[in-house]
Symmetry: C2
């Protein structure tokens, strides 16, 4: 399994770190020998080596602030699109920084890689929120897979649970606390801190968006609502169509008043399908203390209303970059398992014939 | 897919009710035509008809307090073991009332059906807690499946999530509020009710064990801990080996004192694997309000600590008999999907040849 990484920030690096160890073992168990053949970055250049890159060498190069180019073999590559065109890989892992307003450049990267007949795994919510239907259709046409477990709640199984664990049941609605920054900020305000101090904490933890207004104004949550709704209902909902209220107008007094009433203010993301239409919203709500959505600072929770299985849900206690990297691994295992007789097999077949 | 039901209480009846409608549709989607060929009960007799029973007729017979025998065709059957020997079925659904102290008679039923080469699906926690390793080995030897999604938290995907959604990751420990009766009782005591009144409510809701001391003394939770630990770690832990403290000694004062300290008393079931050994316990704990295990009355939650995916979990908001019946359906879909080339296919092949 020849793997290319586009994006080499915290998540990409963690993935590369674990590839020779735990992740490699998990892939070998299902009969795959992983080989990292390319890494593309905006700040550290590009490295492609069909014979395989050494993850440790790549990590050392970028940690020291240097470029990856010294590890590159073959014709020089100087843009993400040229990188994708040149990839000697079976799967592209897309983990570039996202402009959450547009879902780019991730969506373009995913599209280009699928068009080339590569499987794509991403932890980016953008492509799923802005273009899932188009990208899945493209993948299906070319017999490859597009997977995105990490788009919502890091490595917590959400998309795989919906795909594999609720046979015969339909999700009719969902609600969740999908943005950890706002949960943390509101939690800290309950304890008397200012929103500004809490936001600094979220930034220090690395859970806030690069521009934290995307968290506070509900945009990040709206993008995730679209990622979920589009996957659940094969829809084409876009974030601008989600009714959205942020938490900027919320004071410590509001938060503490809610708490005295036995509730917690949380930014709740919701969607439901009613008569074929999807109604989606993001906004602060008073959540009863005993509801799983009223979890503490960095907890995230997502509840699904179903027709046959009642209301069930999934939670995550304190996600870090480790969990997002795990989402990439789990997607690799799934696509390999479902592709054994298709793409990956065919690719090796082609190589043998040529 | 010829289905036999052993046990026709609330769960079995709900399953039979939904079989002609929603459940049948879910099975036909994957290419199976379900046929209910037998129902066995302790109080309403036995009915076997290789050509298929009408679920509505069976329901009408027992609702009126009558016997099923009038619907029976062929030689008379008068015991569960004779019933299992005579079954014209591909799969037995085992939903008899359980003696949680011994895991019987469910364990014997499952064993007998597997020995006959039938798939078995159960919502009974007993066989998984008391004999999972033996029963899985037996099923594997005979090329059939033994599935038990409903054993813990009704239809919430627990066993299927662990089996299908955490590839490459290992669960190192878990903790959960697995007994709804004690959660409800402790919840109501927070609000000032007596334990006795709360217990009556749990009985009215149908969530309490027939003998509620099995709930209050932690035995039900201990049985579920074993079901989970045995499945997760292919172990043979028995309920008597689980360190167990019930909630009988807990007063309203204790509960309210915990609440004032920002926590909730809950009966928490725990297990972890340390150096190959499993350490398991059930007992009241003060759970911080923001923890998903501190959910309200009839909520249940289960958190898994994993090596690669962090701490994640699953919750259920207010389970009823509908969700337990759904667990049976989901198991049928899974076993059909993984048996297409094995047992069910072979059985039809044999029928054609004979």
């Amino acid at each position: 399994l020849r793997i290319a990484l586009l994006g080499f920030g915290a998540v990409g690096r963690r993935f590369a770190e674990l590839l020779p160890g735990a992740y490699g073992r998990a892939l070998r168990v299902i009969g795959l020998r992983p080989l990292l053949t390319a890494i593309g970055t905006a700040r550290h250049g590009f490295a492609i080596d069909p014979a395989g890159l050494d993850p440790a060498e790549c990590l050392a190069a970028v940690v020291q602030g240097g470029a990856l180019d010294a590890l590159h073999r073959g014709p020089r590559v100087s843009s993400a699109s040229a990188f994708i065109r040149a990839l000697p890989a079976d799967v592209l892992i897309e983990v570039t920084p996202l402009d959450p307003r547009k879902g780019e450049p991730a969506t373009s990267h995913v599209r280009a890689a699928l068009r080339r007949g590569l499987h794509v795994v991403t932890a980016n919510k953008g492509p799923v929120a802005f273009a899932r239907r188009e990208l899945q259709a493209l993948a299906a046409r070319l017999g490859v897979h597009f997977r995105h477990e990490g788009a919502v709640m890091d490595g917590t199984p959400i998309f795989s649970l919906l795909e594999r664990c609720l046979p015969g049941a339909e999700v009719t609605a969902f609600r969740g606390t999908l943005n950890s920054t706002t949960s943390l900020v509101l939690s800290r305000m309950e304890a008397g801190e200012t929103a500004r101090a809490a936001l600094r904490e979220a930034q220090a933890l690395g859970i806030a968006e690069a521009d934290p207004s995307f968290d506070l104004d509900g945009w990040d949550a709206a993008v995730k609502v679209c990622a979920l709704a589009n996957t659940l209902w094969d829809a084409a909902l876009v974030p601008a169509k989600v009714r959205r209220t942020g938490i900027a107008g919320i004071s410590r007094l509001d938060v503490q008043r809610a708490l005295r009433a036995g509730t917690r203010l949380r930014l709740v993301a919701r969607a439901e399908r009613r008569a074929g239409r999807i109604i989606a919203s993001v906004g602060p709500e008073r959540v009863p203390l005993e509801d799983p959505l009223a979890g503490g600072g960095s907890h995230a929770a997502l509840a699904f209303a179903t027709d046959l299985a009642g209301e069930i849900g999934v939670f995550q206690l304190g996600g870090t970059v480790d969990q997002t990297a795990y989402a990439l691994l789990s997607d690799l295992v799934f696509l390999a398992a479902s592709s054994k007789s298709t793409r990956i097999g065919r690719a090796s077949g082609r190589r043998k014939r040529s």
